[in-house]
């Protein structure tokens, strides 16, 4: 497996992640579902990856430019990009996630319309760009401009919420491996996102997952793209540092 030649301080390898006990959601699936994820054709998430590949070369907006016009071959230019997001953007003045980074390119560089969160186009481009990092270890920076976002995300993770008064940590730290009806509770890692979730019967983003989990404990969810969820995403990605990306993963 190829790793980045020069990794920043938080550059854990998959071996480091395994030693630290970080486990991908893949390990909590039954074998047929794992096989579905491994099957490059049958994996339904690949429908979006291929749709994203077509969008990559599509000329858009007032500039009539495609992603490819600036970024050329995605396999080269987008390699390892998804492993670093969410990341601090000096231009935006805050931490943004991959979806927002793609959207900023779209609205500012291509001068095209903004991508609607959870739309087919947004999922397709995010899945396509993320899949260029498949197998590479998650490696987000939590220092410098990202430090305050990281702290907020960490607080969110341990904050009880909702009518069921549960925090992310209650299930995904304290009860990993226990059962909730037929489900085995996973560590809640996000190294496979956007995922093809069998429950949703479609591809879904990290923010859709966070909103779903919040609703599951009867808490009011935040909006997709909200800073709360971007902060949480940064923390959760750091929590899974070293885990190789699996986009598009298949999950329950």
């Amino acid at each position: 497996m190829l790793l980045l030649a020069a990794s920043p301080a938080s550059g854990d390898s998959p071996a480091d992640a395994a030693k630290a006990g970080r486990r991908s959601g893949y390990e909590f699936l039954t074998p047929p579902t794992q096989q579905l994820q491994n099957d490059e054709f049958a994996n339904p998430g690949m429908l979006w990856v291929e749709a994203g590949k077509a969008l990559w070369s599509q000329r858009e907006g007032a500039t009539h430019k495609s992603c490819a016009d600036c970024h050329d071959d995605a396999a080269k230019s987008m390699r390892a990009v998804a492993t670093r997001y969410p990341a601090y953007s000096k231009e935006a003045g805050r931490v943004i996630n991959l979806e927002q980074r793609i959207d900023r390119c779209r609205t500012r560089r291509q001068q095209a319309s903004a991508l609607v969160y959870e739309s087919k186009e947004q999922l397709a481009l995010t899945a396509f760009v993320s899949s260029q990092s498949r197998g590479l270890p998650t490696n987000v920076a939590i220092d410098g401009g990202a430090a305050s976002s990281f702290e907020r995300g960490r607080e969110f993770y341990v904050q009880r919420r909702g009518q069921l008064n549960l925090s992310c940590a209650n299930c995904h730290d304290q009860h990993v491996g226990a059962h909730l009806r037929g489900d085995t509770i996973s560590q809640g890692q996000v190294n496979g996102f956007p995922i093809y979730r069998q429950l949703w019967q479609t591809l879904g983003s990290t923010h859709r997952m966070f909103a779903w989990c919040n609703e599951a404990v009867r808490a009011e969810p935040y909006a997709a793209g909200s800073q709360e969820y971007v902060d949480l995403e940064l923390y959760v990605r750091w929590r899974g540092r070293g885990l190789p990306l699996e986009t598009p993963a298949v999950r329950r």
């Binding site: 039954t30 579902t33 339904p44």
Partner: protein, 154 residues
């Protein structure tokens, strides 16, 4: 093909009797499945065998249950599988799919994914070129996930 083990089983009749005698709780799907089978094939006898169902014994999501069906047939111009009808007997609508093969299909084997609303039997009926019917069924245990409710399907 040996005919010595052929059983002219009228599974339709036998199952109808079983349904009539069972206790209160019955599933609309099971009755509908029988009705759909009868609408297709009338009272024709079905023999068990020649059809093999490959599916997981436990499905962690009812929304995507892989299925492979293999029918023992030489698939020649004169001896082939005409079609395979698939049912899930406790789905709100029991029909899963009807697959038409024919002599141009090289192999009587195909795969797809089903939706199962709960633990139930999956039933496949193969109609051969000589109009004989062969059937097989398999049970799938479908587990319900955490926080899984109509509300949370969004």
């Amino acid at each position: 093909m040996s005919l010595s083990r052929r059983k002219a089983v009228s599974s339709l009749g036998a199952t109808l009797v079983a349904i009539a005698l069972r206790p209160m709780r019955s599933f609309a799907g099971e009755v509908e499945t029988l009705a759909a089978i009868r609408a297709l094939f009338g009272e024709k006898p079905m023999q068990t065998g020649r059809v093999a169902l490959q599916l997981p014994s436990l499905a962690e999501s009812g929304n995507l249950v892989p299925l492979t069906i293999t029918v023992d047939s030489p698939m020649t111009e004169t001896d082939y599988v005409r079609r395979v009808c698939i049912f899930a007997n406790r789905n709100p609508r029991p029909w899963i799919a009807a697959v038409t093969l024919g002599p141009k299909a090289a192999k009587a084997e195909f795969s797809t994914n089903m939706r199962l609303s709960g633990t139930q039997d999956v039933i496949a009926i193969a109609e051969m070129s000589d109009a004989s019917l062969w059937t097989a069924q398999a049970n799938v245990l479908v587990t319900v996930g955490a926080c899984d409710s109509m509300l949370m399907r969004r």
